[in-house]
Each structure stands twice: as C-alpha cells, then as structure tokens.
Amino acid sequence: MRADLLYDECAKRPEGTTFFQRDLTSMQVANDVEELVKMVSDLSKRHLLQPLQFDGETCWKLRPRDIADKLLKLVPDERLLYQYIDNAQTEGVWSKALRAKTNLAQPTVTKYLKSLEAKDLIQAVMSVKTPNRKMYLLKHLKPSEDVAGGPWQNEGDFDTALIDIATQVIGKKVQEETCIKVAGNWNNYTSADRQAAIAHKKVQVKGVPDIEELLPVQPYHPPMEPAQPKLVHRTNPFYPTTASLAEYLNSIQLLRGKTVRESDMEQLLEMMVLDGTLEKVTATTYRTVLQPPKQVYNGFVDAPCGNCPVFDLCSDEGPITARTCVYFAEWLETTSEEAN
C-alpha cells in the first residue's frame, strides 16, 4: 500500500518528530493533496499516525507498528482511556481523574485499565507526591520526577541500597578532597633524648619546691597508635561544592541511566550532614567529619538507667527499683534483690 510508503518515509526521521501537512507533502509520496489526505486518514485509522494539534494546526506523530496493532484491537472505551493517558505523557494521570474525564463508571474504568495493563500498553506507578495515588502512563515512557521522584527513588520509595552506595562514594570523594591521611610516623622526631628531656624535666619539676610557676604540667601524650594512620583536615582546601560533586557522580556513571541534578545532590548531601558524615562549611560546600577514635556518650547513657527499657516504670517502691534492678546487677557484677 502506498500509505505504508508514507509511514516508512516518516519513520526515517528522528523519533518523536511531529509532522505538519507541509512536511508530509514535501516527502512527495502522495501525488496530490487528496491522495495525501486519504493516506493520512488510512494511517490514522490503523493508529499508525496520532493526530495532534499545534497552534490550531493539525499535525501528526508516528506510532510504532506493534503498539498500533494492539490499539486496533481495543474496544472504544479502552481507546478513550488510552488517549487520555497518552495525553498526560510522563506526568501520568490518576484513575479517579480518568473517570471524571471520561464519564465512565468506576468498574468499567478499573476493568479497562487492567486490560490495558495486561496488553502492555500502559503502566501504573506510585506517585511520590501523593503516595496513595496510582498514576497511569504509557508503557514506554519513563515517569517524570514529579511522579517517580528523583534519582534516589524507585517506584515511589527511597532506594536505600542505592543511597547507601552513593553516600559511600560521595563520602569518600569528599574525604579525599578535604582530609589528608597521615601515617603514624609522619613526624618522627621523638628521639631518645626527647624522652630523656622529659624525664629530666619531671625531675626538675619535682625538685623545685616552688612548683606554682610550672603548673599545670601536662603529661606527655604518646601517639595513640604509632602504625595507625589518622585523618586530619587539610589546611585551606578547595572544598567540594554541590555542583562539583554532582558532576563527579555523573561522570563515574554510578547511577545507570540517571543523571543527578544539583538539587538531587543537595538533598543527598544535606542528608549526609544530618547523618553526621559530612559537615557544612558554607552554603554549598561540605567537608568530612573526623570521627573520634572512640565514641564517647555521656554519663547518663553509659549508666544502666540511660538505656533502661523500663526507666519510666522504675520507682522508689514496687517491682522495679534500684534494689531489684537486673541491669545494675549485671553492670556492677553483683546481685540484686529478688522482686516479689
């Protein structure tokens, strides 16, 4: 058929091109306007061309043959639904909104949406903005950010595994740029005579009766672990920014097929600040938090009471008291009174 020739000709253009009448005429498949109109209407009937409106002018878009074939087999109501879903493009459309637009009964809508889904024409996604709404959009489309969320989200939920990995990668990158790893022996000046000098000083200090002037003498602090490298902040580094880190993450292609915008990166970095891995230097720059060698909490939570699950029930009298406390007994390695 000659109409297929027109379709093939159009298919040579880049995907998603819209064709106006002048474009189709210039392809010189049809001999005159009348024939062209016939061909177009033929293709439209077979759903190979999708009629559109642009500035009041009619134009068309190509549909892949397989989809067109499926569309041919649809019942009218299904087709109507399909059209509305198609119109919504990547934003998707909510089933209730569909019902309102099409004026169909709810069971019909549900039934046809199911059948469309079964035919691989549309897909349902959870909206991030409104978690309890199912949004429908065409199968071959990727849901927009509004619906699916940024690169960190998957099917409406945060992709924890992905976030963890991204956090590690970014954390490492920031650490490289803002910190320097120093070997244990980085400044290996502690020689024997220094030890002697300290000892000598100690003798001196003790020997001199008027120790007020020398006090308080701090004890010499030995390096924590000589072989253990440790991190220190660089002096005057170029602090990484949201933009530079976004660029870095895109360049290593950690997120396949997804690009990270600055706003996405900011979200991740702010989360890392809350997490305690990074700290903010200025509005857009970050650096690593130096983790203390040993996490020290406070006196309250180190005692049994601070972590006690029955702390609020504990009183002076009754089944739970300081005397009957099992946690105190465990901590002090003594025995407690038996509760009665």
Binding site: P131, F158, T160, I163, I180, K181, V182, N185, W186, N187, Y189, I198, K201, E212, L214, L215, P216, V217, Q218, Y220, H221, P229, V232, H233, R234, T235, N236, Q267, L268, M271, V273, L274, D275, G276, E279, K280, V281, L290, P292, V296, Y297, N298, G299, F300, V301, D302, A303, C305, G306, N307, F311, C314, S315, D316, T321, A322, R323, C325, L332, T334
Partner: protein
C-alpha cells in the same frame, strides 16, 4: 490526693539523699520537710515533722551554715525558710571543686578549698585558727570548729574521696605559716573561686527581688510606687541593676594587708593560741593582734565550678572532634580566660530592645578574647607537641627547610621544641583555624592574632549535642538523624520528614514513636476540616530543644537518684562487714582480723562504690551542660 502523697519530685529526692549522705539524718529530715512543703516558718516545720524544737534548731543550723536554705531578711518579723536548690544540688560537686582547684593551683590550695566546702563558710580568722591552733593536722582542727557533731557523712560518703585522698601526702599540703594561708585565700578570691559571704546570699529569689525593688523605689521615687509605663520599665531596669550589683559585690577582693600581716607574724605563737583556743564561733575574734581581714567571712563561689566544668567539657569535646594537641592549646586559652569569668551566664539580663533596629548584633564580649601569642608562649612552657593534628603540608609551609614526602611524612622531622617564636605562633594559629572552622565554632576570629570564645552561642550547641548523643546511644544513627532533621526544618509531616532523611516511612515510624514516648519529640494533629478525622488532618512531628533539655535533665536527676539508691542498697548488703571493718581495732589491720572472703567482699564493695560514684559525677557533667551553661531557651 494530698500533696504529700504524690510522687516526690525527683530533685527533692536527689537533694535529700545528698544532704543525708553529707550531713546526716537530722539535717536531711528538716531538709525534706522544707523540700516537700516549700517556703515555711519554723512552727510549720515542727508541725510537719516529728522533731522537737531543739532538733529542728540543730538541723536548721547545719543547713544554714552550708547555705542549703534561704531565710527571709532579718528585718522581717517572722523568718521564713526555703531551700536553695542550686546549692543543695551542688553538694554532688564538692569533690570536683577540690579537684579543679588542685589542678589549677596546688594541693595546699585544694585543701583550703575542701575545708571551706566542709565548713560551708568561715571567717578568715577561724580558718587560720583551725590550721594553726594545733599541729596535729589541719583536718582534725577544722572539724573541731564545726557547728555540731552530727557531721559524719562526709568521710563515709566517698564523694569527697578526692579530698580524702590528698591527705596522705601531708608534706605537700601542710601550710607552712598563716601568711601562706592568707596568700592562698587572696589568690582564690582573685580568681573568683572564693567569695565573701553576704546576707543577700540567704535571700530566696523572691526575697531578693523584693529587696532590690524596695531599694530601687527608695532611691528614685522616695518609696512610692511609680505609675507611668516609662517609669515601670525604669523600675524593672533598676531592679535588675540592683540584683546584679548586689551579686557582684560578693566577688570583690578586699585589699589584703600583707605588710601588716608580716609584722603580726612574730607573735603568732602561744599567746594567740591560748587566746583563741576553742573559739569556734565565726567572727568572734577581733583581737588587737589580728589582721584586718580576719573578720572577713568567706565561702566557695558556687557558680565558679560550672565555669571550670564548662571549660573541661569543651576541651574534651575538642579532643574528641579535632585532635589532642588542639585540645591542649584550647585548654590553655580557656584557662587564661577563666579568671575573668565568675559565672557561666548572666542571670538577670536586660531584655533586648523591642524594635528590631536597636537590637545589637550579638555583642561580642571582649573579656573573652585571647592573644594567640600568649597561647604560643604557654604552649612552649608546657612542652606541647603543636605539630600534632595539623596538615603536614601546612607545617611544611610554615617551618623552613621541611618538605612533605608521600604519605604526608615530614622530612626532616620537626621537633616542636626547636621551633622559633614566629613558627610556633603560626602553628598555633593553624590550630585555632581548625577550632574556628569546626561547626561548633569553638573560637571566633576577633582581630589579627586575637581569638574570642563565644560561650553563650556555644552553650546552645552543647545542649543540642548532648541530646543527640543520648538519642544516638539509645536509638542508633537514625534517631539522631531524625532529631537533627526536625531541628533544622521545624515542624514536618511524615512525608517531608522522609524526604529530608531520605528514608522510607516504615523505617521512621517506629523511631518517631519511641522518641515521642521518651519525650524528645512531639506530635501534633491539625484538622483541615471542622471534623476531626484522621484522614483529613495534618500530622506534624516537631522537636523543641527546651523541652527535650528539660526532659533529659529530669531523667538524669532520676538516674542519679537510682545510683545513690543502689549505693545505699549495696552498702546495706554488707552492713555487718562494714561496721566490723570500721571498728577502731580492725581499721588499719584489716588483713589481720578479717577473713579472706571478707576482704574480697570489702574490695568488691569498694570497686562497686567507686564505679557508681564515678558515674554519678559523670551524670553531673551532663547536668551541668543541660542546666548551668545558659538560661532557658525561649526560641527553639
């Protein structure tokens, strides 16, 4: 339910425990009556307790001597008594204060301070008398001047283990001459550790306010109460000013007449001793030979301990967060400021002006400025490794002839003691840069070579940090993240919270619930329509620092009470053994008279007690952070 039957407020319980531990049962009975019923007269105390008049007098004398109770001004016809909660809680800090003083001065000074703490307050003459009346040992002599014999708790308490511990080294802490004592007292007063006793210290907040108000009225309006709005503002301002003036007067150091004292020295021998022997009542000396300051009545400044505790806390924080050497330099810096800081925050501040333009942009306190030069100088004396904790590249830039190899190894190595002044100064400033860059803003750059410490700003961060710490220890990272997210963003609904924390609602819900139950986080329901329907309401989660702070403070008090109760319980368990070990013939000869199992039990008890007391004092550190470093936080 009557008030007496309700659950005792936790601070009452804690302080009663402390008083009982330190000053025995009688004092604590009177104390607990006052604590439970509040401000009252003597007659009411005797009605509420089963004590006779004599016993109540005795109890009140102890409490008054120790500054644990307020009483209304002596000009009033009837005297009301009320509890000084700050001072009562401060009993837990006695050992700490002595320790701080020893660290900053020496053992002799610490001994004087711990004796002053035991005495509550004392005139200088009495103190001298106690030290030099007999040479048997200062502690026994000082005990002799005590108001009554019921003071038995201190030694058994262990709270003063630090002070007791110092007694062994008699040589280092025995005062040589009265002159030395005077010098020590003068130094302590100059540094603000010891202050004068004044009657206003016995005024409760309400009485103090009335006195200050009356004074303002008399001074300006001739006793009449002004009516205009402007005048009322003026009055409020004058009251605050009077309060501040009253309080600052205590800190004044009188002119010590050192020359005169030297002259007195010669006849310090026997006649003095006979004359004043047994004279325990303070202020009763006044002999012709006594020095001018003998009449001076002094006590330990209760607010100074918090200042020292704040410094220690900040230093330990720097050590954890930045590096050991930076912490040492910071310590030098804070210590040098300490002398000028009598208290952590102004209790009677003037309110900020109402219109926004007049409000000062957080006026920096110039008393909190330190020269980097001085710190560098001091670091040299203390032999601190000022290279440690810095970027090797920075050191190579500062120190000549040194390069950085791979792995950041310096070649040749830099010995910090061999550096010249200029290099040292630059290294110290590099450390200060680290302090300044830290989100806590440990120091603020003031001018070239000068750095300032903004304690007030930091105090809020510290409270937040301790709350986070507590949550972190209980609930792992996600709880802390939640608190921080809410702190940063304010009230959030669940979805916004998930977005900020980048976590799924299911992970967050349990944590929100737990934290709500613990009282760190609040939830709020705002209906969108006039029916209250769950679906049509906004469910907000929010966090208020002040609330969380109060809750944690309350919990910490409770934790302290539990520790004291546990100590009492552990002691009771081996009461028999303890009384045996304390018998005069057994004490000192334990190995001879006690069985091996008994010795083991005794050792175990000591360990347990030490562990519990250490924890008590660490919980006190937390109390200080939450309560003592800044006033109520009005805005979250």
């Amino acid at each position: 339910m009557s008030y007496t039957q309700r659950e005792t407020p936790i601070l009452v319980e804690l302080c009663t425990f402390l008083v009982e531990d330190m000053y025995g049962e009688l004092a604590s009975r009177v104390f607990s009556v006052l604590a439970r019923f509040g401000r009252q007269r003597r007659a009411e105390i005797s009605k509420a307790s089963y004590l006779n008049s004599n016993q109540i007098s005795l109890g009140l004398v102890i409490l008054t001597q120790q500054h644990l109770v307020f009483h209304s001004p002596s000009t009033e016809p009837v005297v009301f008594y009320d509890i000084d909660w700050q001072q009562s809680y401060a009993l837990v800090r006695h050992a700490k204060i002595a320790h701080f003083v020893e660290e900053r001065f020496d053992k002799k000074t610490a001994n004087v301070v711990s004796n002053l703490l035991t005495l509550g307050h004392s005139s200088v003459a009495d103190l001298r008398e106690a030290y030099f009346a007999s040479y048997k040992g200062e502690e026994g002599a000082v005990n002799g001047t005590k108001v009554n014999g019921s003071v038995n708790g201190v030694n058994g308490n262990g709270d003063t283990s630090k002070t007791n511990g110092t007694h062994r080294e008699q040589d280092e802490e025995t005062l040589g001459s009265p002159d030395e004592l005077y010098a020590i007292i003068q130094t302590l007063m100059e540094h603000g550790w010891v202050i004068q006793v004044a009657e206003a210290q016995y005024l409760s907040a309400e009485d103090m306010h009335n006195v200050a108000r009356q004074q303002a009225l008399n001074d300006r309006w001739g006793g009449a109460v002004p009516t205009g709005i402007k005048d009322k503002d003026m009055l409020a301002h004058l009251i605050r000013e009077n309060k501040r003036r009253m309080r600052d007067a205590w800190l004044e150091v009188p002119q010590f007449s050192s020359r005169k004292r030297k002259a007195d020295d010669f006849d310090y021998g026997s006649n003095k001793r006979t004359k004043l022997n047994g004279g325990g009542q303070y202020g009763s000396t006044g002999g012709s030979e006594s020095s001018a300051e003998d009449d001076l009545v002094i006590r330990v400044n209760p607010e100074k301990a918090a200042v020292a505790m704040r410094n220690e806390y900040l230093v330990s924080l720097v050590e954890q967060r930045i590096s050991y050497s930076t912490a040492r330099l910071y310590e030098i810096m804070l210590r040098s400021l300490e002398k000028n800081i009598p208290r952590c925050f102004e209790e009677y501040p003037d309110p900020p002006p109402l219109n926004v333009e007049d409000q000062p942009q957080h006026e920096p306190n110039l008393e909190h400025v330190v020269n980097a030069k001085d710190v560098a100088q001091r670091a040299k004396i203390l032999n601190i490794d000022i290279c440690n904790g810095l970027d090797p590249n920075a050191i190579a830039r500062i120190v000549k002839n040194t390069t950085v190899g791979k792995d950041g190894v310096l070649s040749p190595a830099v010995d910090p003691s061999s550096l010249n002044f200029h290099e040292r100064l630059e290294l110290v400033e590099a450390h200060f840069k680290l302090l300044e860059d830290h989100p806590f803003r440990f120091v603020v750059w003031q001018a070239r070579g000068q750095y300032r410490v903004d304690f007030d700003v930091m105090a809020k961060t510290l409270i937040q940090q301790e709350i986070e710490n507590t949550v972190l220890a209980r609930k792992s990272n996600i709880g802390m993240k939640l608190i921080r997210a809410l702190k940063k963003k304010g009230k959030l609904d669940e979805r916004q919270l998930c977005n900020t924390m980048m976590a799924s609602p299911n992970d967050i819900r349990t944590i929100v619930n737990d934290l709500t139950v613990q009282g760190f986080v609040q939830t709020q329901e705002v209906p969108k329509v006039d029916r209250r329907e769950a679906k049509l309401s906004l469910h907000l989660i929010w966090y208020d620092v002040q609330r969380a702070r109060e809750k944690l403070l309350h919990d910490t008090y409770k934790g302290q009470v539990r520790i004291l109760q546990r100590i009492a319980f552990e002691r009771k368990k081996i009461q028999e053994l303890l009384s045996k070990a304390n018998r005069t013939d057994v004490a000192g000869n334990e190995t001879k008279y006690l069985k091996q199992s008994e010795l083991d039990d005794l050792k175990k008890w000591k360990e347990v007690q030490e562990k519990l007391l250490l924890q008590l004092s660490r919980e006190d550190d937390l109390v200080a952070v939450l309560r003592d470093y800044c006033g109520p936080l009005l805005t979250a």
